[in-house]
């Protein structure tokens, strides 16, 4: 969050996972990308990335395919709402807990 810049001490945060410490354990719904419907995957082009642009936590990569960092994703669902091809599904987190176990 805050950083020493030269001699001047100010509040200076750089974007990136972890700037706010470990978060995200309260997620109820998990966004899962359906790669069959995802635009950059289907076209194999650096295109769309609406999810990357809208994610308020910056946890979606601008890559083919886009990847979601679930360590920091809070499950807000904005990516799923904004995805023009409805490629992102919000799935009950409890299902994954069972699967993980």
């Amino acid at each position: 969050m805050a950083k020493k810049i030269g001699q001047i001490v100010t509040s200076h945060g750089e974007p990136g996972p972890g700037d706010g410490g470990r978060t995200g354990s309260w997620r109820v719904l998990r966004p899962v990308i359906d790669l069959d419907r995802c635009v950059p995957v289907k076209k194999n082009k650096m295109a769309c990335f609406i999810c990357w642009m809208y994610c308020p936590d910056g946890v979606i990569t601008r890559t083919i395919p886009p990847e979601i960092d679930y360590e920091y994703c809070k499950g807000c669902g904005i990516c799923a709402e904004e995805c023009p091809s409805r490629a992102i599904n919000m799935i009950e987190e409890s299902r994954f807990i069972t699967e993980d176990e």
Partner: protein
């Protein structure tokens, strides 16, 4: 080049010579002619700067904060209630360590409405982390504005240059306008400790926790208290930086030499009148008269009020018998602010002079030389000096 012009003109010319890149200001009496002159300079092409019209003082300083964050030399100016309206951003600019320069053309504060001069506006904003410099005449206005830009960027702290409304802002006085070449040799091109860079995005001054925490690089980052402590320490350190800058200015322009306090006949003085701004030059006339009557009295003027120059004050005042503080502002319910500051600075001295406090000229009440003469003479001569409370002088009811 010499000019006979107004104090506002002197300030605007100083700002132009400093090659300011962004100006945002909202007109308010008695600051208005300063911003009008700057807009003329920009419109005519004399000054290559962005002049951003805004709908309020809060926005004016917000624009300067944004401009300064992107790495531009930014300037604004205001007076009175305008300064108070931007107060939230005034604190912000200091906490964000942005080297903005602002002229405050001193005027009383409403209610009731007043447009006349006292120093309540800037004096009441003394605790917000800015450096406050006060000018006593037009030459000091232009010189101080130019020096302020140097100081602000050297210490990454915003600087207020304050001068009395009307008494200085609207009166005409001869002064020297330095050449652009000389100012360029004095004032380095703008640089800041950090500026926003689209290739390296950053959040500035977002919520900072009460305690340290690890940043994105895994390093311990300072928390709110560390950041605020650094501001305080750097403010204290800026006194020495101001002295160095003044020395450089003196070498190039031949003027200066008293950036913190300015003494007049203080060397052998038993009594020293203390004031801020144009009143301290007014007091010189009174001191001359009193000297003619054999009273060993001098005047000490403070150019720097925040950070408070304790050491310079102690050095200048500790040997005299009595100090007489004249102020055009007060901390309501307490008394003179400068009076309180001087008393506490002297508290640790082995021998402390008596300190008397007078409040005058509030809301533009005329300060008559005769009144000053009588009050100062009485303060020096009386066997029962009035201490412990600020006395208002010039009241008529």
């Amino acid at each position: 080049m010499h000019a006979i012009e107004s104090g506002n003109f002197a300030a605007a010319t100083g700002v132009k010579l400093a090659r300011v890149q962004v100006i945002a200001a909202y007109p308010i009496t008695p600051q208005t002619p300063l911003t009008e002159k700057l807009s003329e300079y920009v419109e005519s092409g004399e000054l290559d700067s962005q002049y951003i019209p805004v709908e309020s003082e809060h926005s004016a300083l917000s624009v300067c904060i944004a401009a300064s964050s992107t790495g531009a030399r930014a300037f604004t100016a205001t007076s009175s209630n305008g300064l108070l309206y931007m107060s939230e951003q005034v604190h912000w600019a200091a906490g964000a360590r942005l080297p903005i320069v602002m002229c405050v053309v001193n005027r009383g504060i409403g209610a009731p409405w007043t447009v006349w001069n006292d120093q309540q506006d800037s004096m009441s904003q003394r605790d917000n982390g800015w450096i406050q410099l006060y000018a006593n005449d037009h030459q000091q206005i232009i010189d101080t504005v130019i020096k302020a830009f140097h100081l602000a960027q050297d210490v990454s702290i915003p600087v207020m240059v304050c001068y009395d409304g009307y008494l200085l802002s609207h009166t005409y006085m001869p002064f020297e306008i330095p050449s652009q070449e000389k100012v360029d040799s004095f004032l380095p091109a703008f640089s800041s400790h950090y500026h926003l860079d689209p290739d390296n995005p950053a959040n500035l001054n977002s919520v900072t926790l009460p305690d340290l925490r690890v940043n994105v690089h895994g390093d311990m980052a300072p928390a709110y208290m560390e950041i605020r402590n650094a501001l305080h320490k750097d403010l204290r350190g800026s006194i020495g930086v101001l002295e160095e800058i003044d020395e450089k200015y003196k070498t190039i322009f031949g003027r200066g030499g008293c950036p913190i306090t300015e003494e007049y006949l203080c060397e052998d003085a038993s009594f020293i009148a203390v004031s801020i701004g144009s009143l301290s030059y007014h007091l010189r006339d009174v001191v001359d008269t009193l000297r003619g009557e054999g009273i060993k009295v001098g005047v000490l003027s403070l150019h720097l009020y925040r950070p408070f120059p304790d050491k310079a004050i102690i050095k200048a005042l500790k040997r005299c018998e009595r100090i007489v503080v004249f102020e055009k502002a007060l901390s309501y319910g307490y008394g003179g602010m400068l009076y309180g500051d001087i008393k506490s600075a002297l508290y640790d001295c082995d021998e402390r002079p008596l300190v008397q406090s007078f409040i005058l000229g509030i809301g533009g009440r005329e300060i008559k030389t005769r009144d000053l003469y009588e009050v100062l003479k009485e303060a020096c001569r009386t066997s029962k000096p009035k201490t412990g409370e600020s006395i208002w002088i010039g009241l008529k009811l």
